[in-house]
């Protein structure tokens, strides 16, 4: 389909043209593709930052607490993506709860300033201006991180579980401190988990379209939105298929890199380097 060409509204000519792929590399579309990759990178990085400490905490806590924490992280995974995005809207919109809370904070601060007769100096601004938390890139990234963090926690947790606790104790025994143990023993062992976490977060992020659609504005469209529009409103199926095939190619490339990495990793392990 992606090699075909749109002839009129309903007919598509399958003639092995590459014109759709060429169109995907120019101007707006390439920029959007690039931007989606950047947004996904930022999201993945933030997920990694948040997920690592949480995974550590879960992995080292006692059995009972561990199971409670795990279930409480898995439950949001099972609730609908759409519902979770919607629940974020209620918090973030201009008259949402975050802004309400900030407004209350501002008013009480103002009240205290009034007590000390400082209100006329406009120390904290003349009046409260609600932050615009919706319809921008910030909200899209926040939404993506919120939705996809559990995908990062679980693989890191799984590899942390596999590390033999005796090895850590041996490391302390032999005089290494926390930092050295972390970098020399834990890091090499959890790198596999981190990489599968990155893949699990990055790929769905790249293809997501509900979150930018609902939380994002005009300037925060991602490649998923463009694909969706080609099929649902612009009605240019060949171009839409070309774009989604580019996504699939990116996915395959990432998986290939991961495969090569795991091969290298196991070879290094066999030689006893790491």
């Amino acid at each position: 389909m992606s090699y075909g060409q749109k002839v009129n509204i309903i007919d598509i000519d399958y003639n092995w043209t590459l014109i759709n792929y060429a169109r995907a590399t120019d101007g707006v579309y390439f920029f959007t593709l690039f931007k989606s990759v950047i947004i996904s990178f930022i999201t993945t990085f933030l997920c990694l930052l948040i997920a690592t400490p949480v995974a550590f905490y879960i992995s080292f806590s006692s059995v009972r607490i561990k199971s409670i924490l795990l279930v409480s992280i898995l439950l949001p995974l099972w609730t609908n993506l759409l519902i979770r995005t919607y629940s974020l809207i209620a918090l973030l919109r201009t008259k949402g709860h975050v802004n309400n809370a900030l407004e209350n904070l501002w008013e009480s601060a103002n009240y205290f300033l009034n007590l000390f007769r400082l209100a006329n100096h406009n120390l904290i601004g003349e009046s409260f201006t609600p932050l615009s938390l919706m319809h921008n890139n910030f909200s899209v990234i926040l939404g993506l991180v919120y939705i996809y963090v559990p995908f990062m926690i679980i693989p890191i947790y799984l590899v942390l579980e596999k590390i033999d606790r005796n090895i850590l104790e041996a490391s302390y025994d032999l005089g290494a401190n926390h930092k050295v143990t972390f970098f020399k023993i834990i890091m090499p062992n959890i790198s596999v988990g981190i990489i599968s976490g990155i893949i699990l977060v990055f790929i769905p992020c790249l293809g997501s379209f509900i979150i930018p659609e609902l939380l994002g504005g005009a300037d925060s469209q991602m490649i998923g939105n463009i694909i969706e529009r080609q099929f649902k409103s612009a009605n240019d199926w060949p171009f839409g298929s070309a774009l989604s095939f580019i996504l699939i190619y990116i996915t395959i490339i990432i998986l290939g890199v991961r495969y090569v990495y795991s091969k290298l990793y196991s070879r290094l392990n066999q030689k006893g380097v790491s």
């Binding site: 905490y57 609908n80 209620a90 769905p204 509900i210 998923g224």
Partner: protein, 279 residues
Amino acid sequence: MSKRIRHYTPINYTKNNTLKIITFIFLVILYLPIINLIMFSFNDSKRNIVWRGFTSKYYEKLFENEMLFLAFSNSITIAITSTIISTFLGLTTAIALWKFNFYLKKYYDVALLFPIIIPEICMGISMLVFFSYINWPNFQLWPFTLSSIIIAHVSFIFPFVAIIIRARLSMLNNEILEAGLDLGANKYQVIRKIIIPFMSPALVASALLAFTLSLDDFVVTFFTSGPNSVTLPVKIYSMVRFGISPEINAISTLLILIIIICTYFAIRFLSKSNREIIK
């Protein structure tokens, strides 16, 4: 000045306060929107900004709304049908991959994982293109209007089922099967009397998983559904695009409830099956 010797208590990251605080804040942020959503479904205010007192009138409204009821019954029908089909397909795939060696098996394995790993939107689009390419008839009669969605759901759900059942099958001792064959059972008796009872917990768990996956799915359904076949998530999406209302909160709460119940039973069955093996 004496040099202080620091003792490192072996691996107790739970005593680390920073980690504790980060985890706590994380969980609060993870649940805050959802709890807020559930709470405000009982709110007696149309614009739903401030709390105006408890009411259940939006739930009553839901049951009167015919469109929503239709969407809900569509969703349930799709979920049940695709659960049955994909459990059966997943079971047979798992047995085939476990028992037999065949040409290109390794690549078949990878192909099985493919629907899980590619972005969902690509899956939805490929389904849409596929149905239009083979000229899938546009049924008007009710249960058949859902056929394309059911096929799409089965095609991305059955790999999940196959993976779960295969994990369970790999724990089955091959000698038991041989003993069964030795004692005069034929192939089908072995399947019925040994394999099926052995993996019934995994079967139930994966069926429940398939049910939740199908009920929850939005992206694939969005691309394959027509005007005659609106499901609950698609309906919610079109409502969300018009803005926030307590009715969406109410219907979402109900959906969350159904899914939590299903997941609870799935996890219980899975852990039960694992415990049996440890015994």
